[in-house]
């Protein structure tokens, strides 16, 4: 399986009368975009705005962010299962708009509660919070949706997801006839691999709690997913789509398509490392028995692949920490060496326990830094997505444009963005 990924760099997006690509500027027509969303009869209105890095702009009530892509040579389509059949992707040619994100914002019509409460996350395009927010460094096409009266969360969620993915593909299609800035070829060709070093698998543990806090694999929610094997190229083509709207610990679709561990393993593949594949597992299993079963399955797949080592990241909070640690333990127990990537929760002062679970087998940890450190977020000149916001930790509703104190729980994809930005934590 070889995928040729052509990257067309975008540094500006503007609203205009047409849908076109001019150099590195993308022009989009708001009316045409709006029409993408009305046929499902779930969306009342969609406001369309743009936001660029460095501008004093804040985007609130963020749901998902998507990097546009289209398969120019198949098999299959980008975001398979949503935009077309579930034909296996990861081969042929794909074109993507690098440096552009479609950012969705909305408030859901029905309240969510308890363990299925979704949580606010925002993006600051400049200021002290920007380095902690995913998409603060991309040109953003911001879509602010309003649901039709009486619609259910599920129908609304489905409608905006489908419309946004469709738009993503449509925008990427504008690259036809243009020259990409970059062409990369991704393959796990075993001829190359056998000359490389130890066999390493990536165990990607995604959050799966329920509606609005879940992921989709080839268009189907990952509820009940038994750990399974995928090719990293399937991630590049959008086989894994995020439907997770819970605070700063979520990982958006754009990040699944640009997974940093996939990038790093590919960069070393055939030289120091033999990248053997991606094991997809879910976290937040509701019983210990299900957790144990899932961890054992993930380790078993790594073993069947004759893996020497695995990298296992944490996505989520305490519950996910248990799943992640159980996977680490299960792998170590069958002789597969692990490195676990975790964010820390040592409190505002950095004095509290950094992890909620830390098994002795997890002796090699890469830290993404303490996400509970407080950042003084500056006021913003302009806000997209809503005039007020409230964070789940308090009842207070604040003016979206003010300055306030926020943590990694509040920044869009805050935990992973800290890791991507190169943060760690050290004892002083």
């Amino acid at each position: 399986m070889q995928l040729e990924l052509a990257s067309f760099k975008i540094n500006r997006v503007e609203l205009g009368p047409e849908m076109a690509l001019h150099g590195q500027t993308l022009i989009v027509n708001p009316e045409a975009i709006r029409n993408t969303f009305f046929h499902d009869n779930a969306v009342e209105n969609v406001a369309i705005d743009v936001a660029h890095p460095g501008e004093s702009m804040r985007i609130v009530h963020v749901l998902d962010a998507i990097e546009p892509r289209v398969k120019t040579v198949g098999p299959g389509v980008a975001f398979p299962g949503f935009l077309g059949s579930a034909k296996t992707v990861g081969e042929g040619n794909t074109a993507r708009l690098e440096g552009l994100s479609i950012v969705q914002t909305a408030e859901f019509p029905e309240p969510t509660s308890g363990v299925l409460s979704i949580r606010e996350a925002f993006i600051d395009m400049t200021g002290p919070a920007a380095p902690y927010c995913a998409c603060s460094n991309t040109a953003n096409l911001v879509l602010s949706f309003r649901p039709k009266a009486g619609i259910t969360n599920e129908k609304f969620d489905t409608a905006i997801r489908y419309g946004s993915l469709k738009l993503a593909e449509q925008l990427a299609t504008l690259t036809r006839g243009h020259t990409p800035q970059d062409i990369e070829r991704f393959t796990l060709n075993s001829d190359i691999g056998e000359n490389g070093g130890p066999r390493i698998a990536y165990i990607l543990v995604i959050r799966q709690q329920g509606p609005l806090i879940q992921n989709f694999l080839y268009g189907v929610p990952t509820a009940g997913l038994v750990p399974t094997l995928i090719h990293p190229n399937e991630l590049l083509d959008g086989a894994l789509v995020s439907g997770d709207f819970k605070g700063g610990l979520r990982v958006c679709t754009a990040l699944h398509c640009n997974d940093p561990v996939v990038k790093s393993l590919y960069a070393s593949h055939g030289q120091e490392v033999n990248f053997i594949g991606v094991i997809l597992a879910t976290a937040y299993h509701a019983t210990h028995q299900l957790k144990e079963r899932s961890a054992q399955y993930a380790a078993k797949l790594a073993r069947l692949l004759r893996g020497d080592g695995v990298i296992v990241p944490l996505i989520g909070a305490g519950n996910a920490s248990i799943d992640t640690m159980l996977i680490t333990k299960a792998c170590e127990e069958v002789g597969i060496k692990t490195v676990t990537i975790c964010h820390e929760i040592g409190g505002a002062e950095g004095t509290d326990s950094p992890l909620s679970e830390h098994f002795p087998e997890a002796d090699a940890i890469v830290s993404m830094g303490n996400i509970t450190r407080e950042i003084n977020v500056s006021p913003s000149n302009r806000v997209l997505g809503g005039e007020t916001l409230s964070f789940h930790r308090s009842d207070k509703t604040i003016d979206s444009s003010t300055g306030f104190i926020a943590t990694g729980h509040d920044f869009f994809c805050g935990a992973w963005q800290m890791g991507i930005s190169g943060f760690t934590a050290k004892d002083f």
Partner: protein
């Protein structure tokens, strides 16, 4: 002291290392003498542009039997000698000596703002007690490790004496102080992960970015002698509160505990209670609150005199995303109240 001037160092030793005698001299009162003595002589040879101007000597018993006098004397001596840095020990695994070294360093820093560094074995009681306040270099349990400990002590003393901030504990070689700060590595987490995994696979040394902390082992108290004579209370982290959550218990990262009266109730009725816990599926508890606080079962046990009586109140917090330090404090407060109310045993329900 200017940057280019010589750093003034004051050293602290016990009666043994200063050459006054062994255990029989443990009541040797605090004194100060100019210059270096004992291991201070070797330390002085390692120091560059730094002088041990004075050595404080005290017997390991005297300093603990005259606590306030000791601290006052240390403070006075340090004011008189104006060091830029204080070095104490090494104390190895001598417990009283390690505690004294910790105390000297603590007085220097907290009372006078003078940075201080000491060395002792990690098992030394002074290590856990003082590691968050002062810089402690871990060393061997016996003086066999003197030659390894002194160079580290001298390096840190010179840095501190020059007014420099020390780097992270794992890089500079002192015991973790328990406060972690975010720092930029300049490298994406995944790159560091691949590098770390390769080192681990090759059997090469690697440094985990997070060392597993060891938790305090709490020995269980002795079992109740006779349950039939015991008052039992329920403490729960399930987040169970009256419907509507009138006292606003947090869904996660709770910082408080609440108590609710169960005196006069035979069971918890569906609809009157709800769980606000954000970390588990609360539908089973919402449909039967006795699953979180088993009042119905406990009333049954009471009526059969399996237990003497159920306490009038149950105690609740939300255990989702709970800070360990906060929960320790909440536990202390609840335990205090239960002791005052003469409750004998607690049923802890967890989710």
């Amino acid at each position: 002291m200017s940057q280019s001037g010589t750093v003034r160092v004051v050293h602290y030793l016990n009666q043994f290392f200063s050459g006054h005698g062994g255990e029989e001299q443990a009541s040797y009162p605090i004194t100060v003498k100019p210059g270096a003595t004992g291991p201070g002589t070797a330390l002085q040879k390692l120091l560059q542009n730094a002088d041990i101007v004075a050595t404080i000597v005290c017997g390991d018993n005297w300093c603990h039997e005259h606590e306030s006098e000791f601290e006052e004397a240390v403070e006075r001596i340090l004011r008189d000698w104006s060091p830029a840095v204080v070095v104490a020990g090494p104390a190895f695994n001598a417990g009283r000596y390690g505690l004294a070294c910790g105390r000297v360093c603590s007085v220097a820093w907290n009372k006078l703002g003078i940075p201080a560094v000491t060395a002792m074995a990690i098992e030394n009681p002074g290590a856990d007690l003082y590691r968050s306040q002062v810089y402690i270099v871990p060393c061997s349990e016996t003086a066999v490790g003197m030659r390894t400990a002194l160079p580290v002590l001298s390096r840190l003393a010179m840095k501190l004496g020059r007014g420099e901030t020390l780097g992270p504990s794992d890089e500079e070689g002192y015991l973790p102080r328990g406060t972690r700060y975010n720092v930029q590595t300049g490298t994406v987490m995944s790159e560091r992960a691949v590098k770390m995994l390769l080192a681990k696979l090759k059997g090469l040394p690697f440094k985990t970015e997070l060392v597993r902390e060891s938790f305090e082992v709490i020995p269980p108290p002795p079992p109740l002698l006779d349950l039939r004579k015991s008052t039992i209370a329920v403490v729960t982290e399930s987040g169970l509160v009256p419907s509507g959550n009138p006292d606003k218990l947090e869904q996660t990262r709770s910082r408080k505990w609440l108590r609710y009266k169960v005196a006069g109730l035979q069971e918890l009725n569906q609809g009157a209670w709800e769980s606000v816990h954000g970390g588990y599926d609360t539908s089973a508890v919402d449909s039967d609150p006795n699953r979180a606080v088993p009042l119905d079962a406990l009333r049954h046990l009471e009526s059969e005199n399996v237990i003497s009586r159920l306490h009038d109140w149950f105690y609740v917090t939300t255990g989702s995303g709970g800070s360990v330090q906060v929960m320790q404090q909440l536990g202390r407060e609840i335990a205090r109240e239960l002791l005052d109310a003469q409750v004998h045993g607690v049923l802890l329900t967890a989710t």
